[in-house]
């Protein structure tokens, strides 16, 4: 019953996010601030992880293809497929659920604890629109982050491949071009948009409706991360079944 109430409250929050919009001159500033905090501020960690995980994927693929019957360019092919289909959209989204999600929950939760949300409501401001909508819009740029993750993952794989001596650069490039299906990119970006919505709204819900003090802000951040990850994993399964099968 509690879960049903929470799910209901979550969808009501999403509806309220579009009601009684905040003045555009104020909203514009909030959106740019959230783009800076949520998108630009995540590029460093995403670039670092993507590059090195791309390298690891390549090394593991190469080490597991011991048969001389396998052509060397399959290393590049397998790296591309892993990164575009799963690593960049899903794995990075789980990391973003931790980094961006906990930031969203703790910042909104702290505003709840310190009565800043009450202050907005007393002034007659739709606090959900004021706080959540700019995050939702900012995260619509999330596919840009994922594009960088895809690019750097493949570059990381190429560097690992060449310096590890697993195949030549020509083989790797042949591999990453082999049997390329453009719809896989569409599939990855559809997933990315859905995950961006989840990353913006579930942590916001946990921050906005939290009760208690500083300790509960920490608990809410952890709970938000857990539920955002669960939602991402489940939606990943559903979308893959719907779009690729």
């Amino acid at each position: 019953m509690t879960y049903l109430n929470s799910i209901g409250a979550y969808f009501i929050m999403i509806k309220d996010m579009f009601r009684k919009p905040t003045k555009w001159s104020v909203m514009k500033i909030l959106i740019f601030k959230d783009i800076d905090d949520l998108i630009i501020g995540s590029l460093g960690i995403v670039a670092f992880i993507s590059f090195f995980v791309g390298g690891v994927v390549t090394i593991q693929t190469a080490l597991n293809m011991t048969s001389p019957l396998f052509p060397k360019y399959l290393v590049g092919f397998a790296t591309r497929q892993s990164i575009i289909l799963e690593f960049a959209p899903t794995f990075i989204s789980i990391i973003m659920a931790g980094k961006v999600g906990s930031f969203i929950t703790s910042s909104i939760g702290t505003m709840r604890v310190t009565e800043q949300i009450d202050a907005l409501e007393v002034m007659g401001i739709n606090a959900i629109n004021y706080l959540v909508f700019p995050k939702f819009i900012a995260l619509m740029l999330y596919p840009f982050v994922i594009s960088i993750a895809m690019f750097l993952g493949i570059i990381g794989g190429m560097v690992a491949c060449i310096y590890g001596g697993y195949s030549t650069i020509d083989d790797y490039i042949i591999g990453i071009q082999l049997d390329f299906i453009p719809f896989h990119i569409t599939y990855a970006f559809i997933k990315t948009f859905v995950f961006a919505f989840v990353i913006a709204t579930i942590p916001s819900y946990h921050g906005y409706f939290m009760q208690g003090g500083a300790l509960e802000v920490g608990k809410a951040s952890t709970t938000a991360f857990v539920w955002t990850s669960v939602a991402i994993i489940l939606l990943n399964y559903i979308l893959t079944q719907l779009l690729l099968s």
Partner: protein, 255 residues
């Protein structure tokens, strides 16, 4: 003027407000006092429109809140200012931006007009040098003064304060009390303060409403509260050693 008629508010099985009626006049500082758990905060939140009473009405200069449409409610809310117990300043904004916030949200003033008005109210609360400080860099007393400046910047008709003196030393508390009282007279506002600070009662209590267990147990002024025979009120008023001694001296002087 705010008129409250027989309001009831419950949360689940807990009946918090059990039929409170009173009026708060324009240009006067009214205090709602009572022990923790007496229903003061719920009462204030009902007055602010954050909680809707199940029974009874609250009218603001003749306009009954529950009968207003959502746009009228929003307009009415923009005529209210609130000073929260913990100040509730937006910690991502400077002090000047905090004070300008209601103007940015509800007026079409130019940036320079907003800045002028914010400068004026910050000067009014003696904070002319704190514009670019962040709230975390300000002391508790300064934060309260910024909260007052933010509450009055849009010239509200109604000012609500929840425990404005909590966490402040007695001297700063007097400064804050006097400031609220002066501003109330200056702007001719209806001001309601939730408190359990007897110094505030002595200082600025032009009207006092005493709540106990969700009921209005007594109402009067700072002059009458010390003469009342109502045991519930005297128990509360003379609970501190200081006031017990003051009362003792008063009785001895009288005899």
């Amino acid at each position: 003027m705010i008129e409250v008629k027989n309001i009831h508010k419950s949360f689940g099985d807990a009946h918090i407000l059990k039929g409170i009626s009173t009026t708060f006049e324009k240009g006067k500082t009214s205090l709602v006092i009572g022990q923790s758990g007496s229903g003061k905060t719920v009462f204030l939140k009902c007055l602010l429109g954050l909680f809707e009473p199940e029974e009874g009405t609250i009218s603001y200069d003749g306009k009954i809140y529950s009968e207003l449409g959502s746009n009228e409610k929003r307009d009415l809310r923009s005529e209210m200012g609130m000073v929260f117990q913990g100040s509730a300043l937006f910690d991502s904004m400077t002090i000047l931006e905090n004070v300008m916030f209601p103007l940015r949200m509800f007026t079409k003033q130019s940036k320079s007009e907003m800045q002028d008005r914010a400068d004026f109210v910050l000067k009014r609360v003696n904070l002319e040098d704190a514009h670019n400080k962040m709230p975390s860099e300000a002391s508790g007393g300064m934060q309260k003064r910024v909260a007052i400046a933010r509450a009055i910047v849009n010239k509200p008709k109604y000012l609500f304060c929840d425990e404005p003196n909590s966490g402040l030393d007695p001297k700063t508390a007097i400064v804050i009390d006097n400031l609220i009282h002066e501003i109330t007279e200056e702007y001719n506002m209806t001001t309601i303060i939730n408190t359990h600070d007897m110094n505030s009662v002595m200082q600025i209590g032009e009207k006092i409403v005493f709540l106990k267990d969700g009921l209005k147990a007594w109402e009067g002024t700072k002059e009458t509260i010390f003469k009342t025979d109502n045991e519930v009120v005297t128990d509360f008023v003379y609970s501190s050693e200081l006031f017990k001694k003051v009362r003792q001296m008063y009785i001895e002087e009288r005899n």
